[in-house]
């Protein structure tokens, strides 16, 4: 299937007075892709999103949405975007239904289609029971959902959500994540977050930016593979001495965690099978065996803190 590039960002640079918030940022987004935007606070995530949605003008560079430049033909470009900013832009003195109807009209939906679009958006965001309530009286989580509903009401090709799950309870978070996955099937979604597990759970691709520069751009699998470390942790009821463990095939080095737990380091192939075999033969009482993986957090911290920025942008999409 031909993949179409929906969002194209080229050499985006943005200054706030003399402070450079984004520096030569370039990336693109295909249809049917969910892009996760990661970065420490103040890295330029929100600024980038504001530029893509036309809320801020870039100092340099171009953004085009399905071929429409956001500066030169803003109307066509904005028609294709649904945007949820950091603070959901909702009118506290309107009811959910009034507000969503207003949003549908602003996005130039035909009068006949408004009711269906509203019903669809409300069902997707779990707002069916609160249609008649004032937005100002809803909890933060519901206001957030109203914010998401206004972003998807006009069926945009590109949905941009700035920290969409903030303030939601765990059940709602799960619902929103599955909603994002559904959206990502036909549309492109960009979400920003600093919750790494969220990005891991929902995104196909990850961009990590730091101080306005792109320092990592890869598919989520590549990121996970990179996180793999060459060790496993075993827990034994009747542990033998370390000298026995080091004897096992492939094991290079053993580290004692506590009385029963050991970390086994290896070079290439995992010694898991040999460990199980040895445990059964010598009755060590193996009850736990976990392949270690450096958490995404570790990788994120390593990428955003330790490495020098220059020339680190990587393209390893499969």
């Amino acid at each position: 299937m031909d993949s179409t590039t929906l969002v194209k960002v080229e050499n985006l640079t943005r200054f706030y007075q003399k402070h450079c918030a984004i520096n030569q940022l370039s990336f693109s987004l295909e249809a049917g892709e969910v892009l996760g935007f990661l970065g420490p606070n103040g890295a330029g995530k929100t600024t980038t999103m504001q530029i893509i949605t036309g809320n801020l003008a870039p100092s340099e560079g171009q953004v085009s949405i399905n071929g429409f430049d956001i500066i030169e033909s803003p109307r066509q470009a904005k028609q294709l975007i649904g945007y949820l900013p950091e603070h959901p832009p909702v009118y506290r003195d309107a009811t959910v239904d009034e507000f969503l109807k207003y949003c549908a009209q602003l996005r130039r939906l035909k009068r006949a289609g408004i009711a269906t679009a509203m019903a669809q958006a409300k069902a997707n965001c779990g707002l069916n029971d609160v249609g008649h309530r004032l937005i100002g009286n809803l909890s933060k989580g519901y206001q957030q959902r109203v914010g998401i509903a206004q972003a998807i009401i006009h069926n945009p090709l590109v949905v941009i959500l700035d920290e969409p799950t903030i303030g939601l309870d765990p059940i709602q978070i799960r619902e929103i994540r599955s909603l994002i996955k559904t959206l990502g099937k036909e549309r492109s979604v960009i979400i920003s977050s600093h919750i790494l597990s969220e990005v891991q759970a929902t995104c196909d691709r990850v961009l990590i930016i730091r101080e306005g520069k792109l320092i990592y751009n890869a598919s989520i699998e590549a990121l996970e593979n990179q996180g793999k470390e060459l060790s496993i942790t075993v827990a034994l009821k009747q542990p033998p001495g370390i000298e026995y463990l080091i004897e096992i095939d492939q094991v290079e080095h053993v580290e004692t965690i506590d009385d029963n737990r050991f970390r086994l380091y290896f070079n290439s192939s995992s010694p898991a099978e040999s460990v199980v075999k040895a445990s059964v033969e010598q009755q060590w009482g193996l009850y736990e065996l976990v392949p270690d993986r450096a958490s995404l957090e570790d990788l994120f911290i390593e990428l955003t803190r330790d490495k020098p920025v220059a020339g680190e942008s990587r393209e390893s999409r499969s």
Partner: protein
């Protein structure tokens, strides 16, 4: 699209008690002023009979009531215009409009039209008082229309100035105070011009009062109309430019 925004604007105004309170307060005060002028007319009536070509009830009662109305509304209008853009900025809801497929011109015109609809309601309610005089006497319909139109134009320009000053800040109080200052300044700006011999100085021309006065007297001069229209257009363009400029900051 402009209508959609205007409708939302007017709905929001009437959802808060502010609009109702303003309508009520203005109506009560001007009702009292109207009554006082009417009373005054009865006292003068006998003397007016003696005059040839005496000013009628339209001049004495209605024109002077609306003269007071202009000054009261000069103080009230900033309270109506202050929230238009400043509140949206404070609540971060302006993003909704800017992210929607609308031009800045449509947004600003929608906001202005919303304000103007409120002005229309306000002035139309005030016009009911002079119309009630039709029950007892004949009025100069031409003059009445001239007063109505001048009131709409005057408040329209108040609204445009207020809209612009509201776009400069996210603080409603600052928007209200600066609007009040600007309106008052434009009102009294001709005080300096008075000393010039023929009274036709630039300062006089700039004064809101000067042009309003002409129309209250029933003199409908196209230059007065042009003055108000230019004032409104200028401040609307300034507002559009201000909102466009903010994306660059």
């Amino acid at each position: 699209m402009i209508m959609t925004i205007a409708r939302r604007e007017i709905t929001a105004m009437f959802l808060s008690p502010l609009a109702w309170v303003i309508l009520g307060v203005v109506q009560i005060i001007l009702g009292y002023v109207f009554l006082a002028q009417l009373d005054n007319y009865f006292i003068l009536q006998s003397r007016l009979l003696a005059l040839e070509n005496a000013p009628g009830v339209t001049d004495i009662v209605i024109a002077s009531t609306f003269q007071v109305a202009a000054i009261i509304l000069l103080m009230i209008m900033p309270l109506i215009t202050m929230r238009t853009i400043a509140e949206e900025k404070r609540n971060k809801t302006l993003t909704l409009l800017i992210s929607s497929p609308l031009s800045m011109t449509e947004i600003v015109l929608g906001k202005f039209l919303g304000l103007f609809l409120f002005v229309f309601i306000l002035v139309s309610l005030l016009m009911l008082m002079p119309l009630s005089l039709y029950m007892g006497t004949d009025l100069d319909a031409g003059k009445l229309f001239s007063i109505y139109l001048s009131m709409l134009l005057l408040l329209g320009s108040f609204a445009a100035i207020g809209l612009y000053l509201s776009s400069l800040t996210d603080n409603q109080t600052i928007a209200a105070v600066s609007t009040f200052g600007a309106l008052l300044m434009l009102w009294i700006i001709n005080w300096l011009g008075e000393s010039v011999a023929d009274g036709q100085s630039v300062m006089t021309y700039l004064s809101l009062l000067h042009h309003y006065q002409n129309m209250l007297e029933g003199i409908f001069d196209s230059s007065d109309l042009a003055y108000y229209l230019i004032l409104i257009v200028t401040f609307l363009v300034l507002t559009i430019r201000q909102l466009d400029r903010e994306r660059l900051l």
